[in-house]
């Protein structure tokens, strides 16, 4: 399937800053071609916080890298990616480098590995200011202190002259957020920004990102494997599976009315505090399909508890739910929700019990 339904585009509440249309990313490998993203279409509103959720290998990080143009040489992008109407796919690395930092910036996953260990924090934070904003030394110093205050780093003057090893993980992540914000980007990409952090620090970093996003009126894409993380700090969620968007909805809507069996399965496999101890967790049998394999039909069919013959024969398109045009799903037999009038899934086999 090469094109998505036109009306299936996730509509953003406001003017999109990034438009992605039928994006396909493939890797050349010795064994052949591997497709990591297949026909992804989405719009990102200019003040929207979008969560992208999926398991390892679902293509969620690749989507961010494909939008930013941060792909290795063996990768190939086709389709359309635009930033404020400007095409990004055809840009060379030099033109892209001017956009990184000023238009689009990234907060990486591992704060331990993303700072230069032998340079002082201050000098690392001043670098983008020299490069992009052409600030002088005094102005850059002043701006770095402001940035440090903005991300809640205590005692900025002291931190300025310290080295990364003198900071805790949470503080290093704050430094990296300051670095990402240094040149006032319009879009902030955060790829699993809290995975390497403790739960107490995680909450602080997530709230910081959400507050800064709203305060600076930026767009944000938050990539995570944790449905709990997106629940509290995004406006809309996209669920990815095997290189495709399988469900997209405003965050409250997604949690109250999941339609895609995969989303439901992902949600049920999380241990929850409101269940009694030793509650048996629901598992998704099997594993995601090999990205090199050609699959006809729904990519989730082999693991889906509600699978029917039709699911194996043809891949369902990403369609909007008639009740809510902002809620898209990719399923022939979406999960019946109490308020809806969609088709009712008929389980033909029980979810396999281990």
């Amino acid at each position: 399937m090469t094109t998505e339904l036109a009306e299936g585009n996730p509509e953003s509440p406001d003017e999109p800053v990034i438009r992605v249309s039928d994006l396909r990313t493939t890797f050349r490998e010795r064994s052949g071609e591997t497709t990591v993203l297949d026909g992804v279409t989405l719009n990102l509103g200019s003040r929207e916080a979008l969560g992208i959720v999926g398991e390892s290998g679902s293509g969620k990080s690749m989507l961010v890298r494909s939008i930013m143009g941060l792909l290795p040489r063996t990768a190939k992008r086709t389709g359309e990616v635009t930033y404020r109407g400007r095409d990004l796919v055809g840009l060379d690395s030099r033109a892209l480098r001017e956009l990184w930092g000023t238009a689009m910036a990234m907060v990486p996953q591992d704060p331990m590995l993303s700072l230069n260990p032998v340079r002082r924090i201050g000098s690392q934070l001043m670098e983008p200011l020299f490069l992009h904003l052409k600030l002088g030394k005094v102005a850059a110093h002043q701006r770095v202190l402001e940035l440090m205050g903005m991300v809640g780093l205590p005692d900025p003057e002291r931190r300025f002259t310290e080295y990364p090893h003198q900071l805790s993980g949470g503080m290093r992540q704050r430094v990296l957020i300051a670095a990402a914000l240094a040149c006032g980007p319009q879009v902030l990409f955060a790829d699993e920004p809290t995975t390497a952090l403790d739960v107490t620090v995680q909450a602080q970093i997530l709230m910081l990102l959400r507050n800064l996003q709203q305060e600076k009126q930026m767009a944000m894409i938050l990539v995570t494997h944790d449905l709990g993380v997106v629940a509290g700090c995004t406006d809309r969620v996209i669920v990815m599976y095997a290189g495709r968007i399988v469900e997209a909805a405003p965050t409250p809507r997604l949690f109250s009315a999941m339609r895609m069996p995969y989303t439901q399965a992902l949600f049920s496999s999380i241990p929850r505090m409101d269940q009694p101890p030793h509650t048996r967790l629901e598992i998704i049998p099997g594993g995601p399909p090999d990205p090199a394999a050609r699959i006809t039909g729904c990519r989730f069919a082999s693991r889906c508890p509600y699978v029917q013959d039709k699911c194996r024969e043809a891949e369902p398109p990403l369609v909007a739910w008639e009740e809510d045009q902002n809620h898209l799903y990719r399923c022939w037999f979406p999960i019946e929700q109490s308020a809806s009038v969609g088709p009712v899934p008929v389980p033909v086999r029980e979810p396999s019990v281990p």
């Binding site: 390892s56 602080q204 959400r210 999380i270 241990p271 505090m273 030793h278 048996r280 598992i283």
Partner: protein, 354 residues
């Protein structure tokens, strides 16, 4: 200082492993200072129970788990298994207990020898402990591989790089099970896994516990996971226990301010439920080289008073299934609280520093 003996959490009769006033200090290189990783922990693991151990990174939870297995040897205190104090045994005598106490680790791929086949990895402990004939070892290996959900005929010749993260963790569990241990120390066994795989491994651990009559010490920073799998939970902070109790007691009415802060910071997978960033917790974990006097949590505690700096709180019973080390516990509600002092110690290990 002994924490308790009279009111030690857990009944005395079915004790499998008993830790008394365990202390682990690490030397700081090139100085006379010490890292106080574990400072006087007393705890019991009952036969057939899963004891969850939670805390932030650096709180000493992994050190405690390893010290039970004498890896490394604790600085002082006792670890009694079936009435034998393991800390007093010589390496050779200790060996026969090693088969009863096994461990699985966080990174499943890094904990397997990349050059060995799955069959060799799993059967190696049998060879080391000189159990059975070759044929018997082969049969036992096949049996545990099937038990952990891996088909021996297809899996046993594979090497770790051919396994997924979930399969690798199953192999690590099979290796721990092959000697039929009584206790497995699980150090963050699901932290590196996707949620769907995490659910499979958690269910597997529950099944294995029943099938092989195991006790588990389950170390994790993830409170929802610990809540799901544990019969009792111990919360650790900076080398000391803050709170011990059943998951129901601890998570429904935490008595220690630290436990409460931890619970509040969990991201909940429901919309609008933003994790609470506790500003007191924004302060960093104090250095374990110079831990605070009195209550170690007082530097980050919203309720701390002078008493907390002067006097170290002891672990006391506040409810049938709940013990807390706090001068101002949150449960039972402060007005109705009948304070039970810890002074009535029937010191068992005679190491009480009066």
């Amino acid at each position: 200082m002994t924490e308790l003996s009279d009111e030690r959490p857990g009944p005395q009769d079915e004790t499998l492993l008993r830790i008394d006033d365990l202390v682990v200090n690490y030397p700081v290189p090139h100085s006379d200072q010490k890292v106080h990783a574990v400072s006087g922990v007393s705890l019991e693991v009952k036969r057939g129970e899963t004891l969850g151990l939670v805390g932030e990174s650096g709180c000493g939870k992994s050190t405690l788990g390893r010290a039970l297995l004498q890896l490394p040897r604790p600085t002082s205190g006792a670890v009694s298994y079936e009435g034998v104090d393991l800390t007093r045994l010589r390496e050779r005598e200790l060996r026969k207990y090693r088969s009863s106490l096994q461990m699985i680790f966080q990174d499943p791929i890094a904990s397997l020898n990349p050059r060995w086949s799955v069959a060799r990895i799993v059967s190696d402990p049998l060879a080391v402990h000189d159990r059975g004939t070759r044929q018997q070892r082969r049969e036992k290996t096949a049996e545990v591989l099937s038990a952990v959900g891996l088909d021996p005929s297809t899996m046993q010749e594979r090497r770790p790089h051919q396994l997924s993260g979930g399969q690798s963790q199953r192999v690590a569990i099979a290796r721990a099970l092959v000697l039929e241990p009584a206790l497995i120390v699980c150090d963050e066994p699901v932290s590196a896994l996707d949620v769907s795989v995490q659910a499979q491994i958690l269910n597997l651990l529950e099944d294995m516990k029943d099938r092989y009559d195991l006790s588990l010490l389950f170390i994790s920073h993830d409170l929802a996971v610990v809540h799901n799998i544990s019969d009792r939970v111990a919360v650790m902070y900076l080398g000391k226990l803050c709170e011990v109790g059943t998951p129901d007691a601890i998570f429904k009415h935490p008595a220690h301010p630290y436990t409460q802060a931890l619970i509040r910071s969990i991201p909940v997978p429901s919309p609008g439920a933003a994790p609470e960033a506790d500003e007191h917790l924004a302060a960093d974990l104090p250095s374990p080289i110079h831990p605070p006097s009195g209550c170690r949590f007082r530097t980050r505690c919203p309720l701390a008073t002078e008493r907390c700096a002067a006097e170290e709180p002891q672990l006391v019973r506040v409810d049938a299934d709940q013990f807390v080390a706090c001068h101002y516990p949150l449960w039972p509600a402060p007005k109705t609280r009948e304070y039970v002092p810890a002074s009535s110690t029937r010191s068992s290990n005679a190491s009480t520093a009066e």
